[in-house]
Subunit: 152 residues, 2 copies
Amino acid sequence: MMELDEIDRKILRALAEDATQNAGALGRCLGLSQPATWRRIKRLQDSGVITGRKLDLDYEKLGFGVTVFLGVKLATKGRVSLEDFERAVTAIPEVQTVEHVLGLFDYRLRVTARDIADFERVLRRRIMTLPGIGDVEANVLLSEERRPGPLG
Amino acid sequence: MMELDEIDRKILRALAEDATQNAGALGRCLGLSQPATWRRIKRLQDSGVITGRKLDLDYEKLGFGVTVFLGVKLATKGRVSLEDFERAVTAIPEVQTVEHVLGLFDYRLRVTARDIADFERVLRRRIMTLPGIGDVEANVLLSEERRPGPLG
DNA sequence: GATGAAATATAAATGAC
DNA sequence: GTCATTTATATTTCATC
């Protein structure tokens, strides 16, 4: 676990919102020089707090207008079942996220499809045929807001 | 909706994995010059397919070792109730994601906390006191894998 | 329309203090 | 931490297919 001061938190908050801004501009907002800001960012990367930078894609623009969250309960458990399920589910291109969870469900999946008809195809041919699959519950995404989360 | 060729898809796949790589290196992998690659990336940004770049943070390193997914059913619905709920829930710093969904639940929340005791505090003081909140279901995150998703 | 080569602008990275 | 500098990358220009 990493010790952060208030400036580090401001840097993380700013870059969590928009990772394209450069060290010079970000530093000016914080009253810091470009090298000082850059070294703080590098320290956050080297310490593993920042693990990477990823693209935000508009899947609607790509023709994928339907996103569904599936809660999955396995019918058969045990080490092999979990591994089989995970191997098979990660091979489905429409599955964006696989979350192994504890609670009413065993896995939560984020699935995207072109439309409802396409989603039905994915559900019937790919999801319901997964090894060990049991009960499945679905929620269709209407809108989503992501926030930076707490930073210490 | 945007027309993409195979090279655009390869660029998106590569940048979705790691948005830090530069146009020159990425272009060499694809047999393309640096300006050609850069112009394609810019085109994807201008067309709105790429909506931004965000940091990937290790919340465990920040001291937040517990992530819980909450399914929330509202007790009272209607336009005002939804807006009140959304305004209040987005003001909770531990809430990383607010998803308005259709199905068994009305909202799905991704909540992070320092530990289970901290999560109980957030749940009792912040979540269960949200305006209009009804049934709540919880799943604790064990592990997670994100994949690029389909790209056309 | 697309590209690549070359030139320029900007940001990243380093060194000295 | 700053400031000055070097190095790398992003961005524009232009000729070409």
